[in-house]
């Protein structure tokens, strides 16, 4: 909560007749000094309040705000008396003004959990009661209206503040989120790039991963974990790139929401990518996702050394079998085609669940 900061002004050193208060005020308000002096002179005629106000402003300018404010209040009271209001009315108005002043200076909030401006509200209500009781029956019709008016004066600014604060807070939160995002991802990546400047493959991999993340954030499903097949594949591709220093080129036609079976498809595709990255010797792996009417297909292809299924070493056969096994358990199929020297293509297909 911000306390309202009063505009500062300094007595003018060049444009002065007594203490330079009128000159200084005129400079602060941006009006002609003669006009200010005229107002003060008129106020001085009205019960001497102009003189009091002048002294009050001098104190205020010297930094003695409390004395200044008290004198201003006194000046205002004198003015009201001078224009013919009764003493009771002046007390009422003074209480109203004091209430507003307290609220302005000390602040407060009508929001749940905020500190209620109790003193200020009490002064306001008291002022309204004094003011209205003095005027009695003749004001009774106006009373509810003026009370509501007084309340509106108090509550209005808070409602306004509440609304503008809310949009401000949302804006700040967005900013903070972007800052955090950039810190967590872009800055970390740049740090990694600097540290591994002598390892081009690693630099390329982290840069590509970063590119992918930023792009997904900018154009795709936004923050958080992937919730579509293509996002999940992009994540898997980025992981494989980072772990094994190969490029994974991802293309897609269509997309599908993630469910348990589709997650198995992603895991199988990831294994196929890892396999290609580790054993093919090729620098690039192509991944293509296609959604036909009743099935989802993912193709993982490399242009590496390829292999002959019959003479696969056991450790590698394990991977191949785990891809096939995973797809079968998910209700789909995996087809692995390869010839020595011709690279490998893994085709994963999953029937689409109609929901």
């Amino acid at each position: 909560m911000t306390a309202v900061s009063a505009a500062r002004f300094e007595p003018s050193k060049d444009d002065r007749i007594v203490a330079g208060v009128c000159g200084g005020l005129a400079a602060t308000l941006g009006v002609d000094a003669t006009l200010v002096r005229l107002v003060f002179a008129l106020l001085a005629l009205a019960g001497g309040s102009g003189v009091l106000l002048y002294v009050a402003l001098k104190f205020y300018a010297d930094g003695r705000v409390v004395i200044g404010a008290t004198l201003v209040a006194a000046a205002a009271a004198m003015l009201l008396l001078a224009i013919g209001l009764s003493a009771t009315a002046v007390v009422g108005v003074s209480l109203l003004v004091a209430g507003l002043g307290v609220i302005l200076v000390r602040g407060g909030s009508l929001r749940p959990g905020g500190s209620l401006p109790v003193l200020g509200l009490a002064l306001l209500v008291g002022g309204a009661v004094v003011f209205l009781s003095r005027n009695g029956a003749s004001f009774s019709l106006v009373a509810p209206g003026s009370l509501i008016g007084a309340l509106l004066l108090v509550v209005g600014p808070w409602i306004w503040q509440l609304v503008s604060e809310r949009s401000e807070r949302i804006r700040l939160e967005e900013r903070a989120e972007i800052a955090a995002r950039i810190h967590d991802s872009v800055l970390q990546t740049l740090a990694l790039v600097q540290r591994h400047a002598d390892d081009p493959a690693r630099v390329a991999a982290v840069a590509r991963r970063q590119e992918r993340e930023l792009r997904r954030w900018l154009y795709g499903g936004g923050l958080g974990s992937a919730d579509t097949l293509s996002d999940a594949l992009a994540e898997a591709a980025a992981d494989v790139e980072e772990l094994h220093g190969v490029r994974v080129e991802l293309a897609s036609a269509g997309d599908a929401p993630l469910d348990d079976a589709v997650r198995q498809l992603v895991l199988a595709a990831r294994e196929a990518m890892t396999n290609a990255a580790k054993f093919s010797g090729a620098g690039e792996v192509s991944v293509y996702l296609e959604t036909a009417g009743d099935s989802l297909s993912v193709f993982v292809r490399d242009r590496g050394v390829g292999f002959d299924r019959a003479s696969v070493p056991p450790d590698r056969r394990g991977l191949v079998e785990s891809i096939e096994g995973r797809m079968q358990r998910a209700g789909g199929t995996a087809t692995i085609t390869s010839e020595p020297g011709e690279g490998v293509e893994v085709e994963l297909t999953l029937p689409r669940r109609t929901s």
Binding site: R208, E211, R215, R216, Y219, G220, S230, D231, A234, R247, E249, L250, A251, S252, A253, G254, D255, E284, V285, S286, V287, Y288, L289, E290, G293, F299, R301, R303, E345
Partner: protein, 211 residues
Amino acid sequence: MKRRVVLVDDHELFRAGVRGELGDAVEVVGEAGSVADAVPLILQLDPEVVLLDVHLGDGGGEAVIAGVAPERPGVKFLALSVSDAAEDVIGVIRAGARGYVTKTISSDELTDAVERVAAGDAVFSPRLAGFVLDAFRDGARVGDDAELDVLTAREREVLQLIARGYRYKEIAARLHLSVKTVEAHVSSVLRKLQLSSRHELTRWAHERRLI
């Protein structure tokens, strides 16, 4: 004879990188970093191929094509971008670019793509092939010209293989076609992409902001 190429990209660093990667394979005759610079430069130099970024500070690659094409119809444009937003990619192709490759493309492939575009062929990256297959997905035909609104089975097959990472030569071998025929299919897809009034193309591009 080396192909005469102009680079248009608002990142100087990237232009330097591409220039370095292309090396001696082509002759880079000029560079520009904005639409305002690029249009007069290309009109003046009349290169064979313009490597064009999809996004430029003062407009898109589309604006460059629109400024050049009427006066120099012979200049071929190849979009080279990191942009993945489908509507941008499809937009620059529909404006007249003869292909789209991503900036992560290897030097050899880029040189090859420039050569192919210069020769009048179309160059589709796997990603673009995926976009196009998605855009021409089966559905109600709404355009006036049915021939332009659907891909033939063969075109679909070729595009699918491109998306899967196959090169033209590999596609030709796999489908028992000549490389020339594969190229013809791709060019035909490009023509449909540029001329089709198919509603899906626009609607799809706007609806989809993916990957």
